[in-house]
Structures are given as structure tokens and as C-alpha cells.
């Protein structure tokens, strides 16, 4: 029910991101989507990839700081107000959205990756409000 998100720590200097994408490319791992949180000195890259476990292992083998954590992915309608409906749901349930990024976006539909302050509560609140959660395998193979 939760998605495995791949997170990697990297210094904010030339070549570091290239090193990560290089390792993933060589191991035939597709990056479905990503979000990069940066500070002046370092960053944390968060990704949904085709094979999270393998991605973590190959990165670690190359000496990178990589690990997996759980996030929610929610399908949404491609129309005005649908994100607002989601944020209202979370606010009502007293859940903080730590960060979010787009999993997929097309003409007809969209989906978001969500990191909640409490993933179980977030999952329950989304379900109760009638949101459709993205199946992990579907997300990995987008």
C-alpha cells in the first residue's frame, strides 16, 4: 500500500548528481520521477524508481548514502481544485505534508507522491476522503 521511495544524500557540487544517474543507468534502473531538495552545501534526492531494492543495493555498493523509506502516492483528477481537496483532507486530519512531488501528469489524470508526518494517518485520511491510492507496482512501472 505504501511506495518505496529511494533517497540519496549528495553534496551540492558538480558531478555528484551525474554519478547517481550514471550508476542507475548502468544497472538498467528507470527513474520514474524525482524531487531534489537542496541546500547550499548538500542535497537529498528522492526518487521513485523501477526497482527500489536493487537501486539501493547498487548505490550502496558504489559507496553512496542511499536508503528506502515509505511514502504515499495518490491519483488525482486533472482539474482545478483537486490538489486543494487533498491538502484540505490532510489539514483536517492534523497531518503535515512534509513535501510532495509529481509522480505522473497527463492530459487526463495526475498523481502525487506525498510524505506525511504520519503515514498511517495520512493513508487512512486519504482513503476515507475517497482518494484512489496508486498501487506500488504500477508506480514502479510507469
Amino acid at each position: 500500500m505504501y511506495l518505496k521511495q529511494l533517497i540519496v544524500f549528495l553534496e551540492n557540487r558538480e558531478g555528484r548528481l551525474d554519478n547517481i544517474t550514471d550508476i542507475l543507468a548502468k544497472n538498467d534502473i528507470n527513474i520514474v520521477c524525482l524531487s531534489l531538495a537542496d541546500t547550499s552545501e548538500y542535497g537529498v534526492i528522492r526518487m521513485i524508481v523501477s526497482d527500489p531494492e536493487k537501486a539501493k543495493e547498487v548505490l550502496k555498493a558504489e559507496g553512496c548514502s542511499a536508503r528506502l523509506n515509505d511514502v504515499l502516492a495518490i491519483n488525482m483528477e486533472q482539474k482545478a481544485g483537486s490538489l486543494n481537496k487533498l491538502t484540505k483532507t490532510m489539514t483536517k486530519a492534523n497531518i503535515n505534508i512534509e513535501y510532495m512531488y509529481t509522480l505522473n501528469s497527463s492530459k487526463n489524470a495526475g498523481s502525487m507522491v506525498l510524505k506525511c508526518s504520519d503515514i498511517e494517518k495520512g493513508y487512512a485520511a486519504a482513503k476515507e476522503a475517497g482518494f484512489d491510492l496508486v498501487d506500488p507496482d504500477t508506480a514502479y512501472n510507469m
Binding site: 521511495q5 533517497i7 544524500f9 549528495l10 553534496e11 555528484r16 531538495a37 541546500t39 552545501e41 548538500y42 537529498v44 528522492r46 550502496k60 559507496g63 553512496c64 548514502s65 542511499a66 536508503r67 523509506n69 512534509e98 513535501y99 510524505k115
Partner: protein
């Protein structure tokens, strides 16, 4: 001017006689009153009677900073606590402070030495001096303060911190002398420039110490401020600032050797070395009552010259320091050992012991950056957690080292590893010409 001509210009023979008599008394004192020394001497088959003159000093055991640590806090004192009137402390290698203690007579001897040094720098009782060393457990502030009062100077206890206020008072009061670390003085010089008050100042002398600095830096200070700058040396274990100081001829620092007997020894074999040869500086505190030390190894590398100085003093001169025989760093006047960083990091859960200290001098102030490798157990996908981690590491290091530390998180395996010995320090400051 010479503050105490009888002592500072004594003939070498008279000095040796006086030192011999003081050494005999000192050895008998520590043998009877300090268990640590009694045991050491007994193990060497030495009795107080074996020391007949200053030349016998080489028979005596050495003392190290570790010995002070092992006997923390008051194990090496030769008098009961009731006779101690002051305590100072400096940071030790493993987080525990090195504690030193003074009787009233120790304080008097210390302020006598500082007064001699101030006069050596051309300061008189007519001068007004700002003491801009830290006041507190650090010996710098109070050491210079009591010496300046002893000389009779109008003494302004500035301590460190608000540089603009310092400069304002320097102008308003008509301050003529300042005591602080050389790097702080260069910073003060910049603030003076910014405030545009240089022409209105009466400053003519600076007495700087507590950190290594080059002759080039001394000349730079003199030129920038249009003053005379002098180098004062000391270490808390032996007393504090005032153990040695350079006169107007700047040909080495005169050691107050009626109180502190200086030897230079080979840092490996510990054999005595001749004048001019570079080795480790060793002090025996000939007159101290509270914490008398036999042959204390300073780990500072230098050479000594016993020939009389052009200034008329006969006290021997040590040259500017050539480095240290251990890994201690002096950052903003504070002793820092890499092992302190390691210990502090290991106490934070999940932090790897792989670190690199980068010491630099930015705008004439020492800076310390500690790079810490981040492994997968430590980092978070949330920046706020990462910022908390940085703050936590920084706070832990700051409380261990007593100086501000900038923490930088780096990727695993980015810090260099060497076989057997890892490189933990990059010192970008130019400290030796």
C-alpha cells in the same frame, strides 16, 4: 627600562646558583608532598639528596599533559586546597580539562613575570592597557590583568567580543597599549580602519600571544597600526602568559628563568640539546607552590640562546616556535586536539568517526570547519531533519572544544583515508615563515 634588573640581568653563574638552590628545594618539596613524583623518583632510584645543583636537572623525570589529566583535578598539588587562591583550566585531549592551581605566592610570581614582560615591551605605569584576552578559566585575561595592575597601568578589562566598543573606548580613553591574540589584533585593526579612527588613537604597543604567529604577521600588525608589537608566551600548566616575552630587539623571547627553567630536548630520545638546536621545550617551575612541575614537556618545538641580549638582559631567549611534536592545534588561542572531535562525534548516535578538520584564517580570525561523513543510517529525506543533525553535531563539538565550529556534511568515503593513519587536519593558516 628593565623591571627587575637584579633578576633579569643576573650573571649566568649567579643565575645557575640561584636556580640550583631553588631546584633542590623544589625536588624535596615534590618528593615529600606529591605522591606522583615520589613514586616516579623512587622508581628511578632517585632521592632528593641526589640533586645538588641545576646541572642535575637532567636526572629528574619528565611530566606530560597526560600526567595532569590522570591526576585530574587536584592530584598533583603540593599544598592543601586551603592554600590555593585561584584555579584555571584549559581543554585537555579527551574532553577533561587540564586544571592548574595557584597559591597567593604563585599569583605574585606570575604578576611579577608579566610586569617584567610588559616593561620589556616598553610599557610603563603611565600607560593605559586594554586586556582583550578572554577572562575566565583561560589564563590569558586574568594573567595579563594582574601583571598590568602590578606594573601600575590603568587597566581596562575588555575581554573579547564587542570589537566596536573596544575601539570606541580605545579612542575615548586614550588607550596606549593592548594585550590580545595576534589574530584578534588584526581583526581589531580592520575595525579601526572601518570606523576611520586610526588618526585619533594613542595606541603604541601591543603584546600578543596565546597562539602561534609569524614574524611577518608581527611586522604586518606594526605597519597596519603604526605601533610596536611583541610576542608573549606562556602555557597554563607552567603558569600562563608571561613565561617568556620578546624585547624591543625581537631576537627571541626572554624566558623568566629564575622562575621557569627551560631546557631543549630531543623530541625522540629526550636527550638535552645544545643552544641553537631545535627540539622540544621543557620547563621546570622553580618557584611554584601550588602545582610545581618537574621537566614539563610543552610539545612546542624551538631552540634556545643563552648569550646576553643587546637589551642588556641575560635571560636566555627561545626562538619563535617551529611547530609542535604532537597534533595539538591552537585555534583562537584555544588548545584543540583532533581526538576531542573524534570523541564528541562518537557520542552522537549514528555519526561516523570519519571527519576532517579544516582550520583557516578568514578576515584574520581563525575558523574551524569539521567535515563529517554522512552514511545511510544518519541522513534524512527531510531537510529540516538534516539541519537539526548539523546543529546537533555543531553543538556537541562546540561544547567539547569551547570554540565555534562550522559543520559540513559530506558524502561517505569522500574524506581521504590513508593506510594506518588517517588525515584529520588541514591547517590552511600560515603560522611559520
Amino acid at each position: 627600562m628593565i623591571w627587575n634588573e637584579a633578576r633579569e640581568c643576573m650573571s649566568r653563574d649567579e643565575m645557575a646558583n640561584m636556580q640550583g638552590a631553588r631546584l633542590k628545594k623544589l625536588v624535596a618539596n615534590v618528593y615529600h608532598n606529591v605522591e606522583f613524583y615520589r613514586k616516579k623518583m623512587q622508581a628511578m632510584g632517585l632521592e632528593p639528596g641526589d640533586i645538588k645543583g641545576i646541572e642535575d636537572i637532567t636526572k629528574l623525570p619528565f611530566t606530560t599533559k597526560n600526567d595532569l589529566r590522570d591526576n585530574y583535578p587536584f592530584g598533583l598539588l603540593a599544598v592543601p586546597n586551603s592554600q590555593i587562591v585561584r584555579v584555571h583550566a584549559s581543554s585537555g585531549t579527551t574532553g577533561k580539562a587540564t586544571v592548574v592551581a595557584y597559591t597567593r605566592r604563585d599569583i605574585e610570581a606570575w604578576q611579577e613575570c608579566v610586569a617584567r614582560d610588559l616593561v620589556m615591551c616598553g610599557i610603563t605605569k603611565e600607560d593605559m592597557i586594554q586586556v582583550a584576552y578572554g577572562y575566565g578559566l583561560f589564563t590569558g585575561g586574568l594573567g595579563l590583568h594582574y601583571g598590568a595592575e602590578n606594573l601600575g597601568c590603568m587597566t581596562v578589562p575588555m575581554s573579547t567580543g564587542n570589537t566596536k566598543r573596544l575601539v570606541t573606548m580605545m579612542e575615548d580613553f586614550g588607550v596606549t597599549a593592548i594585550a590580545c591574540t595576534p589574530s584578534y589584533l588584526l581583526h581589531i585593526a580592520e575595525v579601526i580602519e572601518e570606523m576611520g579612527v586610526k588618526d585619533r588613537l594613542k595606541l603604541k604597543t601591543a603584546i600578543c600571544g596565546a597562539e602561534p604567529w609569524t614574524e611577518k604577521m608581527r611586522l604586518q600588525i606594526e605597519e597596519k597600526l603604526g605601533i610596536n608589537a611583541h610576542d608573549i608566551y606562556g602555557l597554563s600548566e607552567v603558569c600562563g602568559p608571561g613565561v617568556a616575552c620578546d624585547c624591543g630587539f625581537h631576537k627571541g623571547l626572554h624566558v623568566q628563568e629564575d622562575h621557569f627553567y627551560a631546557e631543549i630536548v630531543n623530541k625522540e630520545t629526550l636527550d638535552p640539546m645544545a643552544d641553537g638546536e631545535v627540539g622540544e621545550l621543557v620547563f621546570t617551575t622553580l618557584t611554584k607552590e601550588g602545582l610545581p612541575l618537574l621537566r614539563y614537556r610543552t610539545k612546542d618545538l624551538t631552540s634556545i640562546d643563552h648569550s646576553p641580549c643587546e637589551c642588556g638582559r641575560t635571560t636566555p631567549r627561545i626562538s619563535k616556535f617551529k611547530g609542535r611534536s604532537d597534533d595539538m592545534l591552537i585555534i583562537r588561542g584555544v588548545n584543540v586536539f583532533p581526538s576531542q572531535v573524534e570523541t564528541a562525534l562518537l557520542e552522537i548516535e549514528g555519526v561516523s568517526p570519519h571527519y576532517l578538520m579544516i582550520v583557516d584564517r578568514v578576515n584574520n580570525l581563525d575558523t574551524l570547519e569539521v567535515q563529517v561523513e554522512v552514511d545511510e543510517s544518519l541522513f534524512s529525506d527531510e531537510i529540516k531533519e538534516m539541519e537539526n543533525l548539523t546543529k546537533k553535531i555543531s553543538a556537541a563539538l562546540q561544547s567539547a572544544l569551547l570554540i565555534a565550529v562550522k559543520v559540513k556534511l559530506v558524502e561517505p568515503r569522500t574524506l581521504e583515508r590513508f593506510e594506518g593513519k588517517s588525515k584529520h587536519v588541514i591547517d590552511k593558516r600560515v603560522l611559520v615563515d
